[in-house]
Amino acid sequence: MRRLKLETQVSIDGFIAGNSGNTDWMIWNWGPDWTWDEELQKYHTELTKSADCIFLSRQMAEEGFNAHWQKVTEDPLDTRFSFAKHITDTHKIVFSRTIDRSTQIPGGWDNTEIADGDFVDVVEQVKRKDGKDIIVYGGSTFAATLIKAGLIDEFHLLVNPVALGQGLPIFNTIDIKQNMKLIKAKSYTCGIVLLHYNAN
């Protein structure tokens, strides 16, 4: 069965953003320069290419996820080109009951559908279909919802060398503690540690 993978940057204390959603503490701010830690960038690109479906929260769609990556594909010399091309070509599913295809989102609805049914049913249906894996990057509320429902199969956490004290959590909604299985841990030159866990 296809696996649902969460890839996200976190602080040492497990937050995926600061209280206001700020990501200025991340070593890698997802900005245009992708040459600063090629090994990590390669991991990130390969992980994304292991998926042929991307789950997006409504917020990420409305904030311009599609438009952002479409713009990058306009320049084949951009270090993010290969990644961006994969993103724009990949099937995307936005989970929302409040928007439909008549809603304007930056970048439009190319390769993007809306799932407005019960999200657990939808995710389970998508997982049962043939295909490569599925990836989700956040945001915090959406990721927390998927984690609480036990739908994430793999966690790829990029741990930044920063403690925030407070911020947006993704694990705060679970009702019972969950053991995970460490599959891989690797530290990168930039100071980020990748922790890949599978859900038990």
Binding site: D13, G14, L157, P161, P169
Partner: protein, 181 residues
């Protein structure tokens, strides 16, 4: 100069409750070596009282080598306890601090000796805020708990560290070594 090392177990989501974090033989061995390589450990009252459990294993060894070794190491290392309420630490190798944590640490750092460990959440936070922790050894166990005691909740500002190295245990715990930049 001797280092001030914050050594503590954490969940993946950043909590440090002793009740959800269990250590196996390999991790006990690791902590035994860490204790044997240091010459003082600093505790707040709550963690100290939890650690007093190990005194019972000195009197009655469990028969499990890694636990008994750890008990001997924690028994041997001099302990300084920070508490306003405790009158008597009831452990020969422990004494109550009669100065502030800042004064105690600054004084210890001036003296010659081996590294100094900090094993309590409250002290780690206070010393982080005073910028006095030289090294963090955070042992992240493969578990998420959702809620509990967040280690870094009360730090004043975001704390940027420098990754030194990592060490993986068979249980899936990973030890993250950071230093102050």
């Amino acid at each position: 100069m001797r280092k001030i090392i914050a050594a503590i177990n954490l969940t993946v989501d950043g909590f440090c409750d002793h009740t959800v974090l269990s250590s196996d033989e390999e991790i006990h061995q690791h902590y035994t070596e860490l204790l044997n390589g240091a010459d003082t450990i600093l505790y707040g009252r709550i963690t100290y009282q939890l650690m007093q459990y190990w005194q019972t294993l000195i009197k009655e060894p469990s028969g499990e080598k890694s636990m008994d070794d750890f008990a001997r190491a924690i028994d041997k290392i001099p302990k300084i306890v920070f508490s306003h309420t405790l009158k008597n630490p009831e452990w020969n190798s422990a004494k109550l601090a009669n100065q502030s944590i800042e004064e105690v640490v600054l004084e210890l750092k001036q003296k010659a000796g081996k590294d100094i460990l900090v094993g309590s959440r409250s002290l780690i936070v206070q010393l982080t805020n005073l910028n006095l922790i030289d090294e963090y050894q955070l042992c992240v166990h493969p578990i998420i708990v959702g809620k509990g005691l967040p280690l870094f909740e009360k730090i004043n500002d975001r704390t940027v560290l420098k990754l030194l190295k990592t060490e993986i245990f068979n249980s899936g715990a990973i030890l993250l070594y950071y230093k102050r930049p």
